[in-house]
């Protein structure tokens, strides 16, 4: 049983120099067999294990992570959470996640620092204005909060934005989702890990999957760097490396893995208390609780697993940031990094069974998976436990690329992909 985190536990441990905190999760060796194995110890994978244990009463589960938990895209994203997607299927999926976010810190007894500071999407040309207005209407029909802001209202909501009509891409208005915001991404992985561990889930780090053992069209287990582990149900949540794992089972996925970059500035006093995204010029900015500006750039257009990305992508983003926020012209950037995102042709995820019995894939989140973490875990757990998708992820099956029933969020999701 885990000790409960509270103001009293904090005080008590402060008095003993913080030397007696309980381990948040164990470091077990893998057993010979599990009822289900999750490949990938990021937020989505850990959330999947958590909901399998909590809602589907499967306790004999392992999460295999080749590095350390939360060290991949979970720790590399710009932490933006929103659900203002255009299509019904996407709105259902992402708003399901947003509703879980709203109670997540309490549920996990772990402060994920979810902050509903609002996400604003800017329009820079007439087509942006039409598209974003259409999206606010679609959002409201789906019960997702969204409002349209005029240029003056944008300025009032975020005073540091340059709304001069004379800049290259003038601000013609924007949309605002007030329930949207940010969370501390590491805490999400750690909170789910602690919660899953408490229910008996084995979180096995430094354990890389090397092969998938099949008997005909059924999975039997995984070859790993810690030996063979048997399981009849295997859920793969490997983000940028999904195709690599699929290849081990002889499957091909409709994915391309590309570098996506982000950067943070030196920490400064509070200057921007919301998240502003601009599709047309590809610049996202928010401010972390530590005071750093958190800036998201775009993807490179070539396949790469190098976790680097090109300099010109960052340069383009910073040009746009400086034109929209002249106040940042002398900010110094502290760190820059890349993560490998797996992108579907329709820029929507896959949460699905496969042609191999017992093998499930949760992938294709592309540039926007963090926001969906709790919902993705919940729905993937449902899919694995019941061998059937939940109604909210039925549209996100892998067969949509055969049937043609795509969820085409490219450009429709208020961000460029």
């Amino acid at each position: 049983m885990k000790n409960k985190y509270s103001i009293f536990s904090l005080l008590k441990n402060a008095l003993t120099d913080h030397e007696n905190w309980q381990r948040a999760w164990r470091d077990p060796e893998p057993k010979k067999e599990y009822d289900a194995i999750i490949v990938g110890g990021g937020g989505h994978g850990l959330a999947t294990a958590y909901y399998l244990a909590k809602k589907h009463n499967m306790k004999n589960i392992a999460v295999l992570e080749k590095g350390w938990i939360g060290g991949g895209n979970t720790g590399r994203n710009t932490t933006i959470i929103r659900s203002n997607y255009l299509w019904d299927a996407s709105a259902g999926l992402y708003d399901h996640a947003l509703k879980i976010w709203e109670g997540l810190s309490q549920e996990l007894n772990y402060n994920v620092m979810f902050s509903q500071r609002g996400v604003m999407n800017l329009a820079h040309n007439l087509q942006d204005v039409r598209d974003l207005k259409r999206r606010t209407h679609a959002n409201r029909l789906n019960g997702v909060d969204a409002i349209w802001l005029s240029t003056d209202e944008v300025k009032k909501f975020c005073p540091i934005i340059n709304t001069s009509p004379n800049i290259r891409y003038p601000v013609l208005g924007g949309t605002l989702q007030k329930r949207a915001g940010t969370a501390r991404h590491d805490a999400v992985a750690w909170g789910y890990a602690r919660g899953a561990d408490e229910m008996g889930v084995d979180i096995i780090q430094n354990c890389e999957v090397k092969g998938i053992k099949r008997n005909g069209d059924t999975v039997e287990g995984l070859e790993t760097t810690k030996g063979f582990i048997k399981s009849k149900k295997i859920g793969v949540v490997a983000a940028g490396h999904s195709s690599v794992i699929a290849n081990m089972a002889g499957l091909k996925l409709p994915l391309e893995s590309k570098p996506l970059q982000a950067l943070v500035s030196e920490p400064v006093k509070p200057i921007i208390d919301t998240v502003v995204m601009s599709n047309a010029v590809h610049a996202y900015v928010s401010q972390s609780d530590k005071g750093e500006l958190v800036i998201g750039a775009g993807t490179d257009d070539y396949v790469s697993y190098s976790q680097k990305g090109s300099h010109d992508i960052v340069e383009g983003t910073l040009h746009a940031i400086l034109e929209l926020y002249p106040i940042f012209s002398r900010m110094r950037m502290l760190r820059q990094w890349g993560g490998i995102v797996d992108i579907c042709p329709d820029a929507s995820p896959i949460i699905s069974k496969t042609s191999i019995k017992g093998l499930y894939f949760n992938c294709g989140w592309g540039t926007g998976g963090f926001k969906a973490t709790p919902g993705s875990g919940d729905l993937f757990a449902h899919t694995i436990a019941n061998d059937e998708p939940h109604k909210l992820n039925a549209a996100f099956n892998i067969n949509r690329f055969v049937s043609g029933d795509l969820v085409d969020e490219h450009g429709a999701a208020a961000v460029a992909h």
Binding site: S243, E256, V303, S306, D312
Partner: protein, 91 residues
């Protein structure tokens, strides 16, 4: 970011080029006879290799010609560049 040796223009920065995805995916000769599965395979399914991959690139801000490249996607090292229609070098 890396340098690409365009077979027509010589060495240029990668930012002058655009990637065109996996190479040597042959357009079906008789599209009307394809099943939905075969169409999906042709249109959407990709090897997305971590390691040495054959791909198409275009010198979009240069000569605008398409060509092929053999590149290691794990470290962005380019092993070979060859023109469209030429046989790919053996690995």
């Amino acid at each position: 970011m890396f340098i690409i040796n365009c077979p027509y223009c010589g060495e240029r920065e990668q930012s002058e080029f655009k990637a065109g995805g996996e190479a040597h995916i042959v357009r079906p000769k008789q599209p009307t006879e394809l099943s939905d599965d075969e169409w999906a395979e042709y249109l959407f399914m990709r090897k997305n290799i971590k390691g040495v991959q054959f791909e198409r690139w275009v010198h979009i801000h240069g000569c605008r010609k398409w060509f092929n490249m053999v590149r290691d996607t794990s470290n962005d090292q380019i092993h070979a560049v060859y023109k469209m229609g030429e046989k790919p070098p053996v690995k």
